[in-house]
């Protein structure tokens, strides 16, 4: 069974540009989460999808971040326009409803550098 995949693994962009990160969850997992780790700080929750619906987006930092999950499959996280403080590693995780608690399986992350 394929794990959670993320693309790209690294992205270097300039301030003001747009970047789109993609996450493919494990097949059949209804829950999809985005997290971010800024250098030297904790991994922070961004948002949670259940299928195609946003269940909790309380962690999204501002309206420059837009997440979508088309058809309840893969998800994209777009940052537009990117700022220096957006640099960090963006993790995606997925889980299958039914566990107690659901075990979240993480992808390898996308390292974003904004210059």
């Amino acid at each position: 069974e394929a794990g959670v995949t993320q693309f790209p693994s690294h992205s270097v962009i300039e301030k003001g540009q747009t970047v789109t990160l993609r996450c493919d969850p494990i097949s059949g997992h209804d829950n999809l989460y985005w997290y971010r780790r800024v250098m030297g700080k904790e991994i922070k929750f961004l948002l949670h999808f259940v299928k195609e619906s946003k269940q909790d987006e309380s962690g999204m930092p501002n309206n420059r971040f837009l997440a979508e999950r088309t058809g309840g499959t893969y998800s994209t996280l777009k940052v537009q326009p990117a700022e220096l403080e957006d640099s960090g590693v963006y993790f995606c995780a997925s889980s299958q409803t039914g566990g107690a608690p659901d075990t979240q399986y993480f992808g390898p992350g996308t390292r974003l550098t904004v210059l």
Partner: protein, 119 residues
């Protein structure tokens, strides 16, 4: 708001020895879950062990065990017979029960402890 604190940024241990990583948390919730995740240098984070707060018995997974002290809000991880492959970043995480799912929800992480196992 819940917080998770890992007070040891880095630790090292000799191969085959035992090491304990500490984690404390703060919450007013009564029902919640606690986790230890491991992120080896290859970056994929994997679940090591989990504990339900309502269970008094400490969770164990092979060489990994926890010491869960609910009143003290402490959740330490003990690794016995350390192996070179245990070298990784270890994250303690908290998940509260949610109204919409019960067992789903976002994880709240500590800053992590970098563990090095030396031959």
């Amino acid at each position: 708001a819940q917080t998770v604190t890992q007070s040891q940024p880095e630790m090292s241990v000799q191969e085959a020895e035992t090491v304990t990583l500490s984690c404390t948390y703060d919450t007013s919730e009564n029902n919640y879950y606690l986790f230890w995740y491991k992120q080896p240098p290859s970056r994929q984070m994997i679940l090591v062990i989990r504990q339900e707060a309502y269970k008094q018995q400490n969770a164990t997974e092979n060489r990994f065990s926890v010491n869960f002290q609910k009143a003290a809000k402490s959740f330490s991880l003990k690794i016995s017979d350390s192996q070179l492959g245990d070298t990784a970043m270890y994250f303690c995480a908290f998940m509260k029960f949610t109204n919409y799912g019960g067992s789903q929800g976002n994880l709240i992480f500590g800053k992590g402890t970098k563990l090095s196992v030396k031959p």
